[in-house]
């Protein structure tokens, strides 16, 4: 009976309900875009670290886990490797430079990441070969860059960096292509530490002598060992280091926390607006229907039927709104340039849709309560 009443009311007032569904659709678009933006911004910041096959990150002490401030030597790497329970470790170094193309394409700022060929930190490849020679000017690029620019394995690219007061250009060969790994809002170009040390922006173009300094060491633990025990062992054995897991390191990067907090606040406000809008609409509608609800109760419709009909109506309208909003998001997404860091993934979208499905009933709670409280006496103009 509830379904019979709610579906007929929605269908026969479809103009009004579709209009309201459109409001929910707009809220859905806002929520999904903000969620995707949050996800995209997070990815742009952390994707490379996220995809590292590492359990722990070792950084220099007293740098507040800031990756760019931290300096780690080759000696420390060897010390880390010697700790019982550490299966693999690799030194990584980060900087930024610009890819320059001679076919008229715009230059592209990239994160250049130095790794030791064959050690932890080298990415898995979609095609091509891994870095295997420290001195060769080979790079691995991510597939987003490859697809956007039209680069293939074996192609040569020119990398520009500032060394001293001059721009230096380096010809690098693409050895392999990996999946998307953004880092600090730029696509990654991965190379050997030796090449990295040569091409990175620096105060003097003169070749650097001695060991290359990295920014962090990625550590993979042996199977079955307790992470906290190894953490303790590392800190107690090796001087002037700090150890944390990947999530802690990511969240400690400057700007990451405030950025995500801002996005989450926007998302929260969008939900709140949703709850208030849904609540307001259904409340007004229920108040308009008080005489009708009184009549229905006077002729013997029980409260359960009235309440369930009100709830179903809210759910139907919310679902229609979310469906329209979902289609809208898809169509808009097709037209949004790649430069906007939107990232839709299944958990993010499902969480947003689940939350949106809840805002209808939550927003409509007051109206359902009003519907339940209507007295059948109102049908004859009385009240208890």
């Amino acid at each position: 009976m509830s379904f019979y009443l709610s579906i007929r009311e929605v269908w026969r007032n479809r103009g009004r309900f579709v209009l309201f569904s459109l409001v929910i659709a707009l809220i859905t678009i806002l929520v999904l875009f903000v969620a995707a933006l949050g996800n995209g911004l997070a990815n742009a910041n952390r994707q490379f670290i996220d995809k590292l096959d590492a359990d722990l990150i070792v950084l220099q002490e007293n740098v507040d886990l800031n990756l760019t401030s931290s300096r780690i030597t080759q000696d420390k790497l060897e010390d880390i490797k010697s700790i019982a329970g550490v299966a693999e470790a690799g030194l990584l170094a980060f900087s930024s430079a610009t890819l320059v193309f001679d076919n008229g394409l715009e230059t592209l700022d990239v994160s250049i990441i130095g790794v030791t060929p064959g050690e932890l930190g080298n990415p898995s490849l979609l095609e091509g070969n891994p870095l295997n020679n420290s001195s060769a000017n080979e790079i691995i690029i991510d597939n987003k860059v490859a697809d956007n620019i039209g680069l293939q394995v074996g192609d040569q690219v020119s990398l520009r960096s500032i060394q001293g007061e001059d721009e230096s250009f380096f010809d690098l060969t693409i050895a392999g292509i990996t999946d998307e790994r953004q880092f600090f809002f730029a696509s990654s170009v991965i190379m050997s530490l030796t090449t990295w040390n040569e091409v990175r922006p620096q105060a003097s173009p003169a070749p650097q002598s001695g060991d290359v300094l990295g920014n962090m060491v990625a550590v993979k633990l042996a199977d079955g060992v307790d992470q906290s025990i190894i953490e303790g062992r590392l800190i107690n054995t090796i001087e002037k280091i700090e150890v944390a897991d990947k999530i802690t390191v990511i969240e400690a990067q400057p700007g990451y926390g405030p950025q995500q907090a801002t996005v989450n606040a926007q998302k929260g406000f969008a939900y709140l607006i949703g709850v208030l809008v849904v609540g307001g609409f259904f409340q007004i509608q229920t108040l308009q229907k008080v005489p009708q609800l009184g009549m229905l109760k006077a002729i013997g419709t029980d409260n359960r039927t009235v309440g369930a009909a009100a709830l179903m109506q809210i759910i139907i309208v919310t679902i229609i709104g979310i469906l329209i909003g979902g289609i809208g998001v898809f169509l808009l997404y097709l037209g949004i340039p790649d430069s906007v860091p939107l990232s839709f993934n299944v958990p993010t979208v499902l969480t947003a849709i689940g939350s949106l499905l809840l805002i209808g009933p939550i927003g409509g709670l007051v109206s359902i309560r009003i519907a339940l409280k209507v007295e059948p006496l109102t049908a004859i103009g009385l009240s208890s």
């Binding site: 009976m1 019979y4 009443l5 007929r8 009311e9 026969r12 007032n13 005489p291 009708q292 009184g294 009549m295 229905l296 109760k297 006077a298 002729i299 013997g300 419709t301 029980d302 409260n303 039927t305 059948p376 006496l377 049908a379 004859i380 103009g381 009385l382 208890s384």
Partner: protein, 271 residues
């Protein structure tokens, strides 16, 4: 005829202590199956409160109400809702119909609420609507119906589930005179035809032409019951909208009710 409704010394008091107001005062009345009664009286006479108690919408403060031998006092809220659904038919002054349901659906709704199957509900609803001359309005929504047609749909809904008691709260209040007569006549015919007990609350004596009894209430009490058909015809022929029934001198002046020629009405509190 069997007694469908038995009201014994029913009172309804609103509020407590110094603020207490006695809306219905020691009313007793029997209504038989197939009997159609008009409950008349000025505003504040207690007729709507009495109607609400008969509809199991309000509990009496005192006394008892039996409908089809079921004691309303002993029913819990849920039971009373079910009782209203099964045993009572109701038409109201306004907001009678569900606006988003067609005439046919509005009538069949009553049967669906009583768990009658969809096909049977539609069939029965159609039959009664055709009987009421609405065969070409079955698919019309309330907004597409005239006032009289709406009331006829409401009457159909009030009777379609074979209730023991049919209640009508000012069913002609929003209709012009001709339509109002038609509606009351239809109501009366169906109640007599189907052997239901019917009570109509009205302030317009012209609408009592087709009833079997006129019950007059003043200050919460039944002060007159007229069952003589000649008297009923005479009263209903009066064109005044007042209450042209003689009432006790001590209350008439206070209520400013116009006096009519002396009635030949006995005044038992219970019939």
């Amino acid at each position: 005829m069997t007694t469908a409704l038995e009201i014994t010394k029913v009172s309804k008091i609103y509020g407590k202590g110094d603020n207490a107001v006695k809306a219905v005062d020691q009313v007793s009345l029997d209504v038989k199956a197939g009997e159609f009664i008009a409950l008349v009286g000025p505003s504040g006479s207690g007729k709507t409160s009495l109607l609400a108690m008969l509809a199991a919408l309000l509990s009496p403060s005192e006394g008892s109400i039996f409908i089809d031998n079921s004691d309303l006092r002993k029913m819990a809220e849920k039971e009373r809702t079910r009782f209203r659904r099964e045993k009572i038919g109701f038409t109201f002054q306004a907001n009678n119909l569900v606006p988003y349901l067609t005439a046919l659906e509005n009538v069949s709704l009553m049967l669906k609420l009583n768990n009658v199957g969809n096909k049977e509900s539609i069939q029965k609803a159609e039959q009664i609507l055709v009987r009421l001359g609405l065969e070409d309005r079955l698919s019309s929504f309330p907004r597409q119906l005239s006032g009289g047609q709406k009331q006829r749909v409401a009457i159909a809904r009030a009777l379609v589930h074979n209730p023991s008691l049919v209640l009508a709260d000012e069913p002609t209040a929003s209709l012009d005179t001709d339509r109002a007569y038609q509606v009351v006549k239809t109501f009366s015919d169906l109640i007599h035809e189907q052997g239901r007990a019917g009570i109509m609350v009205t302030h317009d004596l012209r609408m009592t032409k087709h009833v079997d009894k006129i019950v007059q209430m003043v200050d919460g009490k039944i002060v007159n019951i007229i069952s003589n058909q000649i008297e009923i015809e005479a009263l209903s022929a009066n064109d005044s909208f007042g209450m042209p029934i003689q009432i006790p001198q001590n209350t008439s002046s206070q209520l400013n009710i116009p006096l009519a020629p002396p009635p030949t009405v006995s005044t038992p509190a219970r019939v």
